[in-house]
Amino acid sequence: MQQAQILSTPTRLRPGARWERFQRRYAPYIFISPFFILFAIFGLFPIVFSAYLSLHEWQPAAGLGSMKFVGLRNFTDNLTDPTFWQSLKNTGIIALESGIPQHVIAIPLAFAIHMGLKRVKGLMTALYFLPYITSVVAISVIFVTIFSWQYGVLNVLLTWLHHIPLIGGLFPAEKVNWLGNRAFVQPAVASVVVWRYVGWNVVLYLSGLQAINGDLYEAAAVDGATTFQQFRSITLPLLRPIMFVAITLTLIGNLQLFEEPYIIAGDSGGIGNVALTTVMYMYRTYNFYSDAGLAAAMSWLLFVLIGVLTLINNRVFGKSRLSGAD
């Protein structure tokens, strides 16, 4: 203690020293402050404001004075609105139809790239990643023409496949009205989402695979395990931590789908509203019905749903993640 005092005495005499100490102590706070200032204004405040808003009836065009406290009415209004429930159902179905295939395709794909194809690894990963970096709007526009009923490339291809002997029976004889038939709109939207995110997941899973010790595979091969057995008993269990991350990201992203259904099925939500997702409905409520309070309440309901599903996912994958790490 005394020594420190003695040491600090001469530094006090040097003119620049105090400034040096001062800036060393406060520099980190100054360096991180831009993010926190931005977050306070554009992140935290909007969330608090949106919570406040969800308890009020408000048409933004009428000015702040017209805000009226209505308690939980916006929430009960949403929960008794059949269209809101339909939008949730649509979101859930599209999220499942696009979420499950994404991972079912990406995991074996990443495994195949990692195990046997080191030479084409870079090229393959880049190709599969390509849709992820491309504008959803651009891609969705292309898919609208590809899905087109009478003249779309997809239907032409399917018809052509139908005429091949032996496997032809697997493909439809009639042209499918992808965007004009209730039953096919959701799978059509989901397939675009799958197409877009498989590469992203492949990259995630490749990073997970690289972390698995190669000796394990060698030992298993010596014991006579087939590639499939190695995949099942080594790769899948050890991939769990990264699966948890990837599935969490898919869950959060898929429950907030907006652009793909908006462009492919149109802002009306497509035939019979089957592609109207909750975020689309929220945007409509705010933008066209100018009901800011109702839209804010809707976003909180969606937030709760995302939170609950994330927790469940945490229970299912998060726990085994711990045991996997041990």
Binding site: A27, P28, F31, I32, P34, F35, L38, F42, G43, I47, F49, S50, P60, I105, A112, I113, M115, G116, L117, G122, M124, A126, L127, Y128, F129, L130, P131, I133, S135, V136, V137, A138, V141, I142, F143, T145, I146, S148, Y151, G152, V153, V156, G199, V203, L206, S207, Q210, T227, I252, L255, Q256, F258, E259, I263, V279, Y283, A295, S299, L302, F303
Partner: protein, 270 residues
């Protein structure tokens, strides 16, 4: 045998992935009538010039592309600066509440963006920033993901002794950032820059809320406005789509390795 099967499946998957891009470029060279012909065109046509003229007749597309570039460029530069600065602070200093503050940064990643849509629109309305590009680039000046990425990189790639040595030599704290951290952060800055640029270039919902007049539209918004017309000129639209996507494809062709490696190592070290 199984290797050949794997290669075949991978190749087929890659084909499905790339085919829509191929049709995008093929359709960009055909008229609307040709695109919706039976069978659809599978090779390039000769209608590009007309598509280009029609596109410019509908929207000021070069202006829209410039708007996208302006927004993406500004967000990228500011994000690189502020995120590397914050990443440096989190990686190289011991300060009070460091862990808690970094925890807050990470927690913000989990907030669903849907929660923000309505208040974001209202705040921008209140600021009078509707139809102003700053409504998008100012909030986009720093990102939690960027801080996370930069901290991981700086913490693992730059030795603390280097910073200490510079400090003893009398370099100021910001001087250390500028003369030591930034020059050594090349790979991480490149990855973060690419991600930020791509995300901004492809952003749709933000511009949809902010921009009202076609002069301020970004490229994706302009494309959407053409598609919304009753009699969509699909040839012109496809030409616009191709013009929007080509810069990204070029950048990606040069930087895909860097981008993917940066992303995977960032995910791994988390």
């Amino acid at each position: 045998m199984s290797r050949a099967a794997a290669l075949l499946l991978l190749g087929l998957g890659a084909l499905i992935t790339v085919l829509p891009f191929y049709f995008m470029f093929v359709f960009a060279t055909h008229s609307r009538a040709e695109i919706f012909n039976l069978p659809p065109p599978t090779w390039f046509g000769d209608n590009s010039a007309a598509n280009y003229t029609n596109l410019l007749g509908k929207v000021p597309f070069w202006r829209n592309l410039w708007n996208s570039l302006y927004l993406a460029g500004l967000s990228t530069m500011t994000t690189l600066f502020f995120c590397s600065l914050a990443g440096y602070a989190f990686a190289m200093y011991n300060f009070k509440y460091r862990e808690a503050l970094f925890g807050i940064v990470l927690a913000t990643l989990l907030i669903p963006s849907a929660l923000n849509i309505v208040p974001f629109a209202l705040i921008m309305q209140a600021f009078g920033w509707i139809d102003q590009p700053r409504a998008l680039w100012v909030p986009g000046m720093a990102s939690a993901f960027g801080i996370f990425l930069m901290r991981q990189y700086i913490g693992s790639a730059i030795p603390k002794e280097l910073v200490e040595a510079a400090r003893i030599d009398g370099t100021s704290e910001f001087g250390i950032y500028r003369r030591i951290i930034v020059p050594l952060c090349g790979p991480a800055l490149a990855t973060l820059g690419l991600i930020t640029f791509i995300n901004s270039w492809n952003n749709f919902l933000g511009p949809l809320i902010i921009f009202r007049s076609v002069e301020t539209f970004t490229a994706p918004l302009a494309l959407r406005s053409i598609q919304g017309l009753v009699n969509t000129d699909w040839g012109a639209l496809m030409f616009g789509v191709a013009l929007t996507v080509v810069p990204l494809l070029v950048v990606f062709a040069f930087a895909s390795r860097q981008l993917i490696e940066g992303l995977t190592s960032g995910a791994l070290k988390g």
